[in-house]
Symmetry: C2
Subunit: 424 residues, 2 copies
C-alpha cells in the first residue's frame, strides 16, 4: 500500500487520570514516522469494551493501520483481548508456543504459573500472534479489508521489544514503506538560535528529499537529517557529505551521533587514549560525577570527585588558599583553577574538571547574579578556565553547567590527542 | 451541572511524531480528576484546521467540557485561534489588557514587541479571555449550549499557571463539583507488595466515600487517600485519623506527605535541629550529593561529598585501611563504616552517609552479585551499617541505594532528636 496512515490507541485509566504519562504513544509515533508511516491521531481511552470498540471502529474508518497498547495484563481489569475477539469475530484457542514462552519466562523469574497466566496463552484463531520476549501477554496482528490492527501490552519495555523484533520489520514489509534514512547529530555548547543562524546557508542548500529537524533540550541540540526515497547507499553517502560540510561550519559543537550522551563520548575518548579524569564540584553538587558514573564501565576512566559544597571544604579537601576565597570569592577564576589543579594532583588523574558558581535561587549579587558559573579544566599541559552566564532556574543551571564542563574537557582532550580525533 | 465529563485535545505535530511526550494531557487529567471531573478521552492531533474542527465537534458531542492545549504560539504554524473563531462564529477584536500583559512580559525579558506578538492580543469577541502570566498567548473560554471549551497554550508552565490561577477555580464554580479531598502519603523502605499485605486490614476498613491508590516508583510508594462528598472539615478530620492509624502499622516507612522528596524531608529535619551532613559515595557515584544539592538552600545543612570511585581514593581521601579492602573487599561492612566515620571527621559534619556496592552490569561475583550494597550512617553517638540486595539494573540500583541511604539517615536523625519528631 502506498502512503499509509496510522493511528495509535492507548488504553488505560491510569493515563486518563494522569497517573501515567503516555510514553508509549510517543515511542510508537517516533518509530512509525521513522519508517515513513505518519500518525494522524493518538487517542487514549479507558479499558471499557464499548469505548475500545467505538474508538477502534472510528480509527479504522480514518486510517490504514491502528496500533493499540495496553489492556492485555493477566487481571480482570484488562478487557482488550475479549473485545478484539468480538470485533474480529474470533474464537479463542490455546497456543502451545505462547504457553511455552510464558512457562519459560516465569520459570526464569522463579514464579509459578497460575491459571491467569495460562489464560494468556489463549489467542484469537484469526490473528497472527506476536511472541513477547519480555512478558507474558502475547501481541496480536489482525487484518481486515487490507487494513491492519495490532494490539500490544502496555508495559513499555514489552511493547518496545515486540515493536523492534517483530512489528516494525513486518510493517515495512506489508506497507512497502519508502526508504527513509536518518542521522542524528548531537550538538552542545551553542544555543539553538545561534546554531540556526550559523548553519542557515547549509540548511537552505539541503538537496531535494532531505529534511532537517531541530530537537533542543537544555544544553544540547539534536539535529536530525532525514532522507526519503531513492537508493539507500547513495543517500547514505550524501548524508555523510552533508555532515562533513556541517563539521566545517561548527567544528567544535558536534560531539557525537545518534543519541550518544556527552559523558559516553568522553568515556570513549579517555579509554581510547588510556587516560583518566576526576572532578571537583561546588554548585553542580555531584551532578557531573553522577552523570559520569551513570555510564557502565566508567570506573576504568573515572576515579572520583570532591564535592566541596561548603567553602571551608574547598580549603580542607582541595587546598584552595583561604586568601583567594576572601579576595576573589568562591566563584572566581582563581578559586576554580586551584580546585582543578589540586583535584588532579590529589586524586592522581590525567585531567580534572572543576566548577564553582551560583545555581540559585539565592546567593546572587549584582556583580555575580544567579547563573554565574566558572569552569576550569586542568591537565598535565596546563589549566584553563571559562566564565558562563546561565539563567535563573536552579535545575537548569546545574544541568547546563555540568554539560558545559564536560564539553570543555571533551574539546581539551581532542586538542591534545589530535591523532585520535574521529574524522567525523 | 452534575457529573460532568471532560475530554482533552492536545494539538501539535511534535506529539504525533513522538518528538514531545504529551505531559500536558497527564497534568490536566490529574487535576481534573482531583476536582471530580473524570476525563473520558485524550486526543492528540496535528494543527490542521480540519482536524481541529472535527475533533472538537466529536468531543463536544460526547462530553461537557473540552480542554485544548497547544497551537497558540505567535508563528504561522499555529492555526488554533483562527479555527476556534470560525467554529464559534467569533470576530477577532483587540484586547487592551492582554496587549499590556504582552508588552510588560516582553519588556521584563528585554525583548522588543513584534507584530506577531501584537496579533496575540487579538481575541474572539464572544469568549472569556484568560490572562497568561507566564507567556504571550492568552487562553480562551467559550460556552455553547451549557458546554465549555477552553483553549490554552502548549508550553507546559504557561498552561499550568493558567489552570492553577484561573481555569480550575472557574471550573469548580461552573460545574459545582463535589468536594474532593486528597492526601498523599510518601513511603520508602518497603516494597509495594509488602506494604499492601501489611496494611490490608487498614485498607479494608476504609470508611465509605474514601478510596486508596498505590502509586509506586523505584524506591518510593505514594499512597493517595481520596475522600468524596460530605463536609470538608469532617472529612479532613477523618483523613487525619486514618493517617494516624496507618502510622501505627508502618511507623518508620512514612517519610512525609504530598509529594515532598526524601532529601527535602532530611533538609527540614537537619535545619530544625541545626545539624549538618556529608556523604562518602562509591557505587552511587555522586547521585546522593546530586539529589541533596538539588534542594534549594541545601548549603545550610549539607557540606560536601567525597566520591571515592576508585579503591585507592578510598585510602587516599578517606583513610580507609588498605588491609580492610584487601581482607573484606571494598563492598563490606568494614570498609563502608570506615568511609562514613572518616568522612564525618574529615569534613566536620554531625552525620555522614557512606555507600559502597556493585551497581552493575559488571563487577558482580557469586558471593556479592550485582545489586549488593553496603550503607553506613555515622554520627557522634556511633556508626551503624546495613546490607541491601537490589536488582540487576544499574540505574535503578543507584537510585534505590541513594534513597535507602537517605532513609537510614532520616530514621537515625528521628531517633536522636525524638522531641522534634512530627506527631504525624
Amino acid at each position: 500500500m502506498m502512503n499509509p496512515t496510522a493511528e495509535i490507541i492507548t488504553i488505560g485509566d491510569e493515563i486518563l487520570i494522569g497517573q501515567t504519562i503516555d510514553t508509549n504513544a510517543a515511542w510508537v509515533g517516533e518509530h512509525l514516522s521513522e519508517i515513513g508511516i505518519p500518525v494522524n491521531r493518538i487517542i487514549s481511552i479507558s479499558d471499557q469494551p464499548g469505548e475500545i470498540r467505538l474508538s477502534l471502529q472510528e480509527s479504522l474508518n480514518r486510517s490504514d493501520l491502528v496500533l493499540i497498547t495496553g489492556g492485555l495484563g493477566p487481571t480482570n481489569d484488562d478487557r482488550t483481548k475479549k473485545t478484539l475477539c468480538d470485533f474480529f469475530q474470533s474464537r479463542l484457542i490455546p497456543d502451545p508456543i505462547i504457553l511455552q514462552d510464558i512457562e519459560q519466562l516465569l520459570a526464569s523469574r522463579n514464579v509459578p504459573v497460575n491459571p491467569l497466566n495460562r489464560d494468556q496463552a489463549l489467542v484469537p484463531d484469526n490473528c497472527r500472534v506476536i511472541r513477547n520476549q519480555a512478558g507474558t501477554a502475547p501481541g496480536m496482528w489482525f487484518e481486515r479489508e487490507g487494513k491492519v490492527v495490532i494490539s500490544m501490552p502496555g508495559v513499555p519495555y514489552e511493547m518496545i521489544s515486540m515493536m523492534e523484533s517483530s512489528v516494525i520489520p513486518a510493517l515495512k514489509d506489508v506497507f512497502k514503506v519508502p526508504v527513509i534514512l536518518q542521522r542524528t547529530i548531537m550538538i552542545t555548547g551553542i544555543a539553538e538560535s545561534v546554531l540556526a543562524s550559523r548553519i542557515r546557508t547549509w540548511e537552505k542548500n539541503l538537496p531535494a528529499g532531505f529534511s532537517l529537524a531541530y530537537l533542543p533540550s537544555p544544553g544540547i541540540v539534536k539535529l536530525r537529517i532525514t532522507a526519503r526515497g531513492g537508493d539507500a547507499g547513495a543517500k547514505l553517502t550524501e548524508i555523510d557529505g552533508l555532515i562533513h560540510s556541517l563539521r566545517e561550519i561548527i567544528p567544535d559543537a558536534i560531539y557525537g551521533y545518534d543519541e550518544i550522551t556527552l559523558e559516553e563520548t568522553i568515556g570513549q575518548l579517555l579509554m581510547a587514549n588510556g587516560l583518566t579524569v576526576v572532578t571537583a564540584e561546588s554548585c553542580t553538587g555531584g551532578a557531573i560525577a553522577s552523570l559520569i558514573t551513570g555510564v557502565p564501565g566508567s570506573s576504568s576512566w573515572y576515579l572520583g570527585s570532591i564535592v566541596a559544597y561548603a567553602n571551608d571544604l574547598k580549603e580542607k579537601l582541595l587546598g584552595v588558599e583561604p586568601d583567594s576565597i576572601s579576595r576573589f570569592g568562591a566563584v572566581s577564576r582563581e578559586v576554580v583553577e586551584q580546585m582543578a589543579i589540586q583535584a588532579r594532583i590529589r586524586m592522581g588523574a590525567d585531567y580534572a574538571i572543576a566548577v564553582s558558581g551560583i545555581a540559585g535561587p539565592d546567593g546572587g549579587t549584582a556583580d555575580k547574579p544567579v547563573g554565574t558559573v566558572w569552569i576550569a579544566v586542568s591537565g598535565a599541559s596546563g589549566t584553563g578556565s571559562e566564565l558562563f552566564r546561565f539563567g535563573e532556574h536552579r535545575g537548569r543551571n546545574i544541568r547546563k553547567a555540568s554539560l558545559a564542563a564536560l564539553n570543555m574537557l571533551r574539546i581539551r582532550i581532542l586538542k591534545e590527542t589530535a591523532g585520535t580525533r574521529p574524522k567525523y
